[in-house]
Symmetry: C2
Subunit: 304 residues, 2 copies
Amino acid sequence: MEALHAIGVDLGGTKILAGVVARDGSVVRRHERATPQDSQEHVLAELEAAVAELLDDSVAAIGIGAPSPIDAKRGVVVRSVNVPLENAPLRDHMHERFGVPVGLDNDANGAAIGEWRAGAGRGVDDLVMLTLGTGVGGGIVSGGVPFRGGNGGGVELGHVVIVHDGRPCQGVCTGRGHLEAYVSGTAATDAAREAFGPSADAHRLIRLANEGDAKAKEILEDLARHLGSGIGSFVNIFAPELVLLGGGFGVAAFDYLCGPAEEVARREALKPMRDDFRLAKAELGTAAGLIGAAFVGFEALDSA
Amino acid sequence: MEALHAIGVDLGGTKILAGVVARDGSVVRRHERATPQDSQEHVLAELEAAVAELLDDSVAAIGIGAPSPIDAKRGVVVRSVNVPLENAPLRDHMHERFGVPVGLDNDANGAAIGEWRAGAGRGVDDLVMLTLGTGVGGGIVSGGVPFRGGNGGGVELGHVVIVHDGRPCQGVCTGRGHLEAYVSGTAATDAAREAFGPSADAHRLIRLANEGDAKAKEILEDLARHLGSGIGSFVNIFAPELVLLGGGFGVAAFDYLCGPAEEVARREALKPMRDDFRLAKAELGTAAGLIGAAFVGFEALDSA
């Protein structure tokens, strides 16, 4: 049987998105189910069910994107903030269950790979993708190859310091002044609540800005300028041709973010990198993660 | 003739250090000369003279480390702050003159490669090296391969933002709040002058700390904590096993820097990266750059 398809699974804090994906990045069929919140055992069972529901003879590999640092050598989810998984050997577990090569990666790497193979990053050899949602994730393609850091554990671009001794992170991160604390959808919601009361959130902030509210625009501009500091740093490190903004908040707020973020990023960037990058919006929406995960599966297949 | 040796050239703001280096990283012979300050023509002439003085039949390649972003595809020094070079086609120029493969890299990449092949980073597959001198440079080895960013132009680790909208950089960099503005030897000298008067500098600061001066120690600790924010960011991005501090100021102040920097870096770093890295002092001193440059030459030879 020809290796036509891979199943990509995007394991998120609230949903498991799974799909059958072809080598050209097209999604043949997909579905979603809720992420269990109670135990690792239930998460594993739902992941198995998500794959089993999609499996047929055309599927030659499985790829999973998980919201956690990954121990790539062992194929283990180290510890997730949003899903009850800790030291979970997802790769071997799924391989034993389904008998095909399984790839495991961080969800933000997965989204970057998805956009690179089938979205806004097609044909680009050097890109940085930032996903702005509940948290901030990052993924890198460098020289036409996904870059993962030592033992696949790095590229936590949301956890670079942009304000020394600044705002504390949430959850398990003990850091201060990280990009995530300033530019995530959560940070936007916090700022919206402070300005507009406890019922406001990031969506309302964008809506208010659309209606011309000066305070909402100011909040988004300040957030965007902080984002620009992060982007400028990544441009100086990775010298990308393309910086992509994705994630729910990143896409929804893109029109407010792109101008000020780009202005600050170009101020921070050195030549020649300063003139060589462009900033763009991710294209694949919520499918980026599962498409990218499927390519992580193809990668496992091709190197098996 | 067997490819025994490469000539490594470390082009610095004040000196050109050149040496004949064997495959094991040992320096067979070396010398130095002053870097011309007046024109690109004179810099090129002195580089040629430095190589010509060392050349013999055992030399099969030349490597050059330059204090500037590099356009790797074209083999060009884009623009140096400290040396009168702009858009200088060093690689082709030296190749035409001497007829052997020539490699060109950023000087901080060169120093990192030197420490990796022949110094404190021997046997390590994932390392980050920071050189703290007049400026702050960085070099990366990831997965046993030097990492250079898109078109070899990135890895400007001194120019990541650690304080959004913070202290301006010096020279051609228009950025604000970059690591370099807080932790370079120049920044240490600025702080020393502010505290101890116009004749003070980074060396005197260290001497005063050695003598027990509380203010000097406080300045170094604050500098070290800012360094920790940068290191924490790099650990989250690259997941290194080893972070090396080199450069004149980095080595001289190491005993004051390492404790506070490591404390902050571990606070900023996520698991598992937080527990997986160690911080150490570079070993090769001023020879790191020329040794690494020689290995960039061997790289050009082996891929010719």
